[in-house]
Structures are given as structure tokens and as C-alpha cells.
């Protein structure tokens, strides 16, 4: 099993590396994979969460968390403005964060699908706001046979000239899937 878990870590790292390379092409931030581990961070915070659950392969759920204030900073650098009270701002902001989640989470999903020689098409990524711990508990509770799933976390560092932000990612993957890797 250790070999399989190492294989999974390598797939997550490879997927995140690809996604950060892609994001670096279009962003003034520098995106960098910092850590992939099985140590789940206990830090709780107000977050913006993007999550996806596979449509035809219901054994996978992937989540991305950004601290609420960091998500605003990312949006400000991409768009050049910050108007937190406006409806249009909120809509654009959520679309941007959702697209970042889409790119990062689907890069990892693609690595796993390729390793399994399967087609895995997930649902459209969804975005929710709230405390990280609360969201994690709720989404992991939604998954069937959650106890048999292995949670894996990763951290991606995002650097701009003035700031360093981190993004946390969580992957719930069933043991049976890991054994096939």
C-alpha cells in the first residue's frame, strides 16, 4: 500500500505542477507547489472553497480552499479592482476563483484518470463560502463510504511582489482507487 500511496502523491504533485505552470503563463503571481502530504492541516479559517465531485466515478472528491482575504487579493491582482459590496464584483470574483479551482483540481484528476486509463468527467466545479472545517465536514459527509476514503492534502504557494498566499487542497480518494494506481 505504501507504494500506491507514494504513487498517488506523485500524481497529485505532477497534476499541481502542470496546473501551476499553466497559471504562471497568464498570471502576474508566481504559483509554486509547496507541499503534498497526508498531514491534514487543523487550521480553520473563513474560506472560499471550490470543490468537484466526479460525475461518472463517484469515488473521488477534490476541494480547494483559499482564505477569504487572500481570494480578494488574487482577484484584485487579476482584475485590478476591489469593490466588495457590488453584486457584479461578487459574481466576477466567484467566477475567477472557480476557474482557478477548475484548473488546479482537474489537472490532478486528469493525472489519476490517465494512470487508471479511464475517462473521468467531473461535475462543474462548485464554489461555497464558509469556515474551512465546516465545509470539509459537510462535503466529506456527503460522500458515500467516506470512512474508506483516504484524505490527502497539498499546499500551493502563490507569490506576488508584495504578498505570499497559500492555497490548501484536499483530495478524498477511495482505498479501492488507490489500490489500482
Amino acid at each position: 500500500m505504501k507504494e500506491k500511496i507514494d504513487a498517488l502523491k506523485n500524481l497529485v504533485s505532477a497534476g499541481l505542477l502542470k496546473s501551476t505552470e499553466r497559471l504562471n503563463k497568464v498570471s502576474s503571481f508566481r504559483w509554486k507547489v509547496l507541499d503534498v502530504s497526508f498531514e491534514l492541516s487543523r487550521k480553520d479559517y473563513e474560506s472560499v472553497c471550490v470543490y468537484l465531485i466526479s460525475k461518472n466515478y463517484d469515488k473521488l472528491a477534490f476541494l480547494l480552499f483559499i482564505k477569504k482575504e487572500d481570494a480578494s487579493k488574487i482577484f484584485k491582482i487579476f482584475s485590478g479592482y476591489y469593490l466588495s459590496d457590488s453584486f457584479e464584483y461578487k459574481k466576477s470574483y466567484e467566477l475567477l476563483i472557480s476557474e482557478i479551482g477548475n484548473i488546479m483540481l482537474n489537472s490532478v484528476l486528469s493525472e489519476i484518470a490517465n494512470r487508471l486509463s479511464k475517462i473521468i468527467i467531473p461535475d462543474v466545479p462548485r464554489i461555497i463560502n464558509g469556515e474551512k472545517k465546516f465545509i470539509l465536514e459537510n462535503i466529506s459527509g456527503m460522500l458515500e463510504e467516506n470512512k474508506s476514503k483516504v484524505p490527502l492534502s497539498a499546499t500551493v504557494l502563490v507569490e506576488s511582489e508584495n504578498d505570499k498566499l497559500s492555497i490548501e487542497l484536499y483530495f478524498f480518494i477511495e482505498n479501492g482507487v488507490i489500490e489500482k494506481l
Binding site: R22, K25, S92, N102, I119, I121
Partner: protein, 115 residues
Amino acid sequence: MRFVIVDDNSSTRLTVKIALEKMGHNVVGEAENYDEAVKVISETDFDILLLDLLIPGGSGVDVLRKVGTRNKKVIAITALEQDGIDKELMRLGVCFILRKPFSFDELKKAIEECV
């Protein structure tokens, strides 16, 4: 050339529309989910379809399985990079797969590859 854009993200549709118009093209139809995509592809006269793979109600692959390419050029847009999906898209007649995020130049190149 006349384009149809299928993408659930309204900001992406707007950005791509502006980019296409800057290149001298026209956007003649838009859709943000599976049902709208099937309808607009079936009922609109266009030259190139820009098709996002992850849309509500069914995937872009499902859309192509339902309506086919109608002998038009299709550029698939996606953050996915799966060998199985790429092969299926090519089998269904897609002429180019554009990975997200993409630049103005990459979009231009994808169009040139298809025509």
C-alpha cells in the same frame, strides 16, 4: 467567421467574444449548459464551435454525441488533460483541444489550425 461559444462561465464567454471580435470574427450564438448547447448548435448557422467540456446538465462530450459536429469545426476548451477524453474528442470530430487557461495568441493559433 461565425462562432458559437458554449461555456458556463459568463466572464469567459465575454472575454472570448471580445477576443474573437478583435480578430474580425462574429459570435452568432452562445450557450451556458447542455440543453442550450444542443439547441443553439442545432438551430444556428455557424462556422466554428468553441465548446467547454464541463457544463451543467451534461458534458461537452455528451453534446457532441447528441448533435455531432454538423460538419463544422469544433475547438474543445477544457482544464482536463486526459488521454481517453482527447481520443474520444478526436473520434467525435474535434479539430483542436485548447487547455485552460489560454492566451489570445493560443486561441488565434487554435482557429488557424482548424481552418
